[in-house]
Symmetry: C2
Subunit: 343 residues, 2 copies
C-alpha cells in the first residue's frame, strides 16, 4: 500500500476548508488559514503545511482561538494601521489590515501594520511575499514563547522570534528570507529526540545552564540564540518591536496569556512595508534592476539565495499537486467529516 | 614620561575643531564630526574616537570628502526625508535631516531618513541614540566596502554592514546595540596580524576560499558573516535597504565610487524612527515601563545588556575627561597647528 497521497491544490484547499469549518471556524477565518497552510504545503514547508490544521482544530476545541473573531482595523496614524485580532487567527487580521497598509506605504513611503492579540502559528514569509507581490519591500517580526536564553544567560526568556524580509525582483519571485533567531527551530531538537540522536552542544543549555548534547535536556533547558550576543540582541529587538512598541506582550508572557493556557502563541506582530516608488519615483525601476547585481554576485560564487527551494517546489506543486503522508491525510479526512461544532 | 594624556571633554572638542578647520572642513562639518568623535572617545570606543580625525584629514587631503558640502534636504513623501550629502560627511547630513525625521515620526508613527552620497566613517549608535533621546525607537543600517563573503560563497561581496537599534528607557540610557554583520570587525583581524597571533578558523576564508587561521591570509581573502546563512541574509537585507532602495550603491561598488578611489566609504544610510506615542497614545508610558521586564529578565540571569560598558565610560568621562595615547595627542596637536588649506 502506498504511504503517500497526492492532492491537487484545489483538493487540498477543499480538504482544509472542510476541516476548519467542521470545527467552527467561520468562512473568513477558514479561507485565510487555508490559504496559508496550502501555500506552505505547496512550497514543501511541511511543518507549516496541512499538518498545522490538527493543532488549529485542537486549539479551537480548547478555546485557544476565537473562530468567529472579527478583526478590528484602526487607522491609527498617517503611516500606521493597527488591527486587533480579538484572539482570532493572525492570518485574517493581516488580510484585513493589508489593503490599508499598502495604501499607506504607497502614499507615505513607509508604513507599519501592528497586529494585536492574535493566535499566531504561520510562517512570516507569506506575509512579506504578499507585500512584494505588489511591489513593496516587506519586513515582519513576531515574538513566540520563551524558549531561548539571552546570550550570557542560562534560562528561557526570549522567544524563537522569527524575522522575515522580502524584496520585489523584476520578473522573478522575490528575494525572501524568514528565519528564527534561535540557532535552530525547536522542532529540529524534537526530531533529534525522537530519532534518539544527540545534538551539537551549541544549540541549547540544560536546565542547570550548561551546554548539552542531549535533546531531552535541551527541551527542558534553554535554546540558544543564533550568532551569540548579536543574535540575542536582534531577538530582543524583535520582542520590543512586536511587543511593547505595539502595546502587546513579551515572549515570556504569551503562554500564560493564551486563552486556553495551553501555550498556543497569542501575541502581536509587527510588519513594515516600504515603497521603492514613493522613495525614488521614476528611478525605482532602475535601482530595482541594479539590485540584481547583488543577487548575481551571490549566486555566481555558488552561494544560494534563501527561499529558492521553496520557489522550485512551488512550481512543481502547481503542476503535480502536493503529496502528504497517508496517515496525515486520513486524520484530516476524519476531522473534515466531524459534525460542525458551531455555525 | 607618561605615555597618556587626559583632556576635559571641552579640550577634546577644541582640539578636534582645530584639526578639522585647519584642514578645510567648514564650521558646520567640523562641529558635526567633532560631536561624533568626542562622543566615541567619551564612551571609550577608541576606534571611532579622536583617532578617526587622522583619516578624516587624510581623506580631505586626497579629495575623498567635500569639506564644504551643503547637505540638501528633500521632503520626499509624508514619511520619508531624503538628504543628499553631496559627498560630504554623513554626520552633517544626519543632523540636517533629523528635525524633519522626528517631526514625521511623531506625526505619522513611522518615518524614514535616507542619506545619499555620504562619506561615512562613524558608529551608528550615535544616531539611533539621538532618536531615543527624543523618545523614539531608532534603527539604522549602512553598507560598507565588500570584505565579506556570503554564506556558502568564497569571495568578498557584502560589506561588514552594521545595524544599530535604540529603544528609549524611562529614566535610563536607552537599550542600544550596534554590530557589524561580519563575525568580527576587520580591525580585530588587523590587530591579530600586528600581534602575530592566529585567528579562529570561523572568522574568514583565505583567497582560495578555505577557512584560515592566518590573519594576513584572512585580510587578503574574505571575512565571514556572523551566524552563517542567517547573518548573511541580514547583511544582504542591509545592502538592499541602504543601497538600491534609497537609490544608492551596493557594498562592492562603494570603493570604486569614492571620489579619491582610496576606499573611503562613500554611500547611503537608512534610518527608521518610530514613535511609541503615535502608536499607543496615552498607553505608551505604560508599555515602555512594561518593556523593562525584558531587560530585568536579561540582567537577572547575569547576561549583559549591550552598550552598558559605553554608558559606564560615559559617566566616568564626564567627570574625569578622556585619556588618549600621548603619541596620538602629539599627532593631533601637529595637525591642529597646520596652516588652513581653505576657508
Amino acid at each position: 500500500m502506498n504511504n503517500e497521497i497526492t492532492l491537487s491544490l484545489e483538493d487540498a484547499e477543499s480538504l482544509s476548508m472542510q476541516v476548519l469549518m467542521a470545527h467552527g471556524f467561520n468562512q473568513s477565518h477558514a479561507a485565510a488559514i487555508t490559504r496559508s497552510v496550502v501555500a506552505a504545503q505547496r512550497d514543501e514547508c511541511h511543518s507549516h503545511g496541512l499538518y498545522r490544521l490538527i493543532s488549529c482544530v485542537e486549539t479551537a476545541r480548547n478555546g485557544g482561538v476565537d473562530t468567529q473573531a472579527e478583526p478590528e482595523v484602526t487607522d491609527q496614524a498617517p503611516s500606521v494601521v493597527r488591527v486587533d485580532a480579538k484572539q482570532g487567527s493572525s492570518l485574517l487580521a493581516f488580510e484585513r489590515g493589508k489593503p490599508l497598509l499598502i495604501e499607506k506605504a504607497n502614499r507615505c513611503g513607509i508604513a507599519l501594520l501592528a497586529i494585536n492579540r492574535s493566535f499566531h502559528f504561520s510562517a512570516l514569509w507569506q506575509e512579506v511575499e504578499a507585500l512584494s507581490e505588489v511591489g513593496l519591500v516587506g519586513i515582519a517580526v513576531t515574538p513566540s514563547h520563551a524558549f531561548v536564553a539571552p546570550a550570557g544567560g542560562h534560562s528561557p526568556l526570549l522567544g524563537t522570534n522569527p524575522m522575515a524580509f522580502s524584496w520585489p525582483r523584476p520578473g522573478k519571485p522575490p528575494y525572501t528570507f524568514d528565519f528564527a533567531t534561535s540557532v535552530v527551530a525547536r522542532g529540529e531538537i524534537e526530531l533529534h529526540r525522537r530519532a534518539g540522536k544527540s545534538i551539537p552542544n551549541t544549540w541549547a543549555l540544560d536546565s542547570s545552564g550548561q551546554p548539552t548534547t542531549d535533546p531531552t535536556e535541551a527541551l527542558e533547558g534553554a535554546m540558544l540564540p543564533f550568532g551569540g550576543y548579536k543574535g540575542s540582541a536582534l531577538s530582543t529587538m524583535i520582542e520590543l518591536l512586536a511587543g511593547p512598541l505595539i502595546g502587546d506582550l513579551l515572549g515570556h508572557e504569551t503562554q500564560a496569556a493564551s486563552p486556553d493556557h495551553d501555550g498556543k502563541p497569542h501575541h502581536g506582530e509587527f510588519i513594515v512595508a516600504i515603497s521603492p516608488h514613493a522613495l525614488l519615483g521614476q528611478d525605482a525601476a532602475h535601482h530595482l534592476t541594479h539590485a540584481e547585481r547583488l543577487f548575481e554576485g551571490i549566486e555566481s560564487q555558488g552561494a544560494r539565495l534563501p527561499s529558492q527551494r521553496r520557489f522550485a517546489a512551488r512550481e512543481r506543486s502547481r503542476i503535480d499537486g502536493v503529496t502528504l503522508p497517508r496517515a496525515l491525510y486520513d486524520e484530516l479526512a476524519e476531522l473534515a467529516s466531524a459534525k460542525p461544532t458551531s455555525s
